[in-house]
Symmetry: none
Subunit: 264 residues, 2 copies
């Protein structure tokens, strides 16, 4: 957790205790530990910190009078927000492109701050003047403004997943096409292995007998049905266990069909 510990989340003048709590919860979800709150509204800040179930990192949060103080030790200060209403003076980057920059900064021993503005109007031009760059979450232009707790969750997800894949839980390397094994459950995969071709052929044989016994189609169709069934079973790719179970069902059906005289 060495690298995550060098990222600080900074909330500037947050108002709503629910949002402060939500931001802290998202930090805990994604393994971040360092929270600094700048000039919070005191009664709401006390309420958020003392809430039942507040994560430990919220009780350990630093308080700072100014954003300048809060980010004084950081080498890369990233403001968040939308540029809808004004022309920013910083470089603007999509959140999609942030991870490599943060990784680079941490790799060379830097410290990173991720700065979130107050609920209503976001970071001011003055606030942004402490930021090296402004990162935007790509949102629908008709509804660009995100809830604070949700914006924090999205940014931390992106960083946790794409800067620290080794430190986040369920991540597997992102191949453009995830091959099947990437989403097979790891335990008990024996059961998930595909049935061998011979097993599929045995199953096809019993299904074909059941088709015949049920008078499913004229005998002129038999060769075509057999071909289609072979293709179908390969495409569905049942596991060994699936194959045994389907075989069991069709054997039972076949046995019952053979007991009764044909009436069609």
């Amino acid at each position: 957790m060495l690298n995550l510990a060098r990222i600080t989340v900074v909330l500037v003048r947050p108002r709503n205790p629910i949002n402060i709590g939500a931001a802290a919860r998202a930090m805990a979800n994604f393994g971040f530990r360092n929270l600094t709150v700048v000039a919070p509204y005191a009664p709401h800040w006390r309420e958020a910190r003392s809430a039942v179930g507040a994560p430990e990192l919220l009780r350990n949060a630093k308080e700072s009078a100014t954003l300048a103080d809060a980010v004084a030790g950081c080498t890369l200060v990233v403001g968040t927000g939308t540029i809808a209403r004004r022309k920013p003076e910083q470089k603007v980057l999509s959140l999609l492109n942030l991870a490599p920059l943060v990784k680079q900064e941490l790799d060379r021993g830097g410290r990173v701050a991720l700065v979130f503005g107050p609920e209503k109007h976001g970071l001011t031009r003055e606030d942004l003047s402490w930021c090296n760059l402004l990162v935007e979450i790509p949102t629908d232009p008709r509804q660009p403004s995100m809830n604070l707790g949700q914006a924090v969750a999205v940014c931390l997800y992106e960083l946790a997943a794409r800067v620290f894949p080794a430190e986040s839980a369920a991540s597997a390397p992102t191949a453009a096409h995830a091959p099947d094994p990437a989403y097979a459950p790891e335990k008990g995969t024996e059961r998930m292995s595909a049935a061998p071709s011979g097993g599929l052929d045995r199953l096809a044989g019993v299904i074909e007998e059941a088709m015949f016994a049920a008078g499913y189609s004229p005998s002129s169709m038999q060769a075509a049905n057999r071909h289609d069934l072979r293709l179908l079973l390969r495409r569905l790719a049942p596991t060994e266990r699936d194959t045994r179970r389907i075989l069991g069902l069709f054997r039972r059906i076949l046995w019952r069909l053979m007991q009764s005289p044909k009436r069609n």
Copy 2:
């Protein structure tokens, strides 16, 4: 917005009106429009819909009595949650690897549902039996459980940014996620698209009748068999055409079994 319109967000038995509102807001932020709410607690659902500033998509949301109904028209049903407490019966995928699958499904004309469980305990084993796969947000194992509104925001951010980069605002296509010719729909793939959930339910119903008519297993096993069959069909993912053909075979078998008296 053609593709985004073929994704439905499904909230199963949500309780807290603030979370319902937050989920809807995240949908609006990322350009999603279709919300279905399953069996909501009525007073809170009314409260959420009538809240000041509720997005239009919340007022237009569909209500559904069961998850089966809510996803009946969908060809890829994705459950969300954490596997911390149990061993899932579905394929499990990190959210990081979901985008290519969703894109592939939409490219071949399918419809996708993203299903979120209730706040306290998430989706049940029964709920998950309607899902083709379970997607996990990679979180810190010490605090894996996310707030509902934040989980929705993170999932929709990931899909909006990485499935529809052209439709989301500030994103530039990143090399890792550049369009891949392999995603292009093949000719005649219409027939290859997965059968919708409702079609699988109809097929399962007829297979179950055939099991019963053939005396396949004792009636005490009926609920377990039904559950296993639901999982099996989602895992095999037959196409619409496959489904029609298997249905035809089982209808024929059932008809023949019903003609003859039971002799076992």
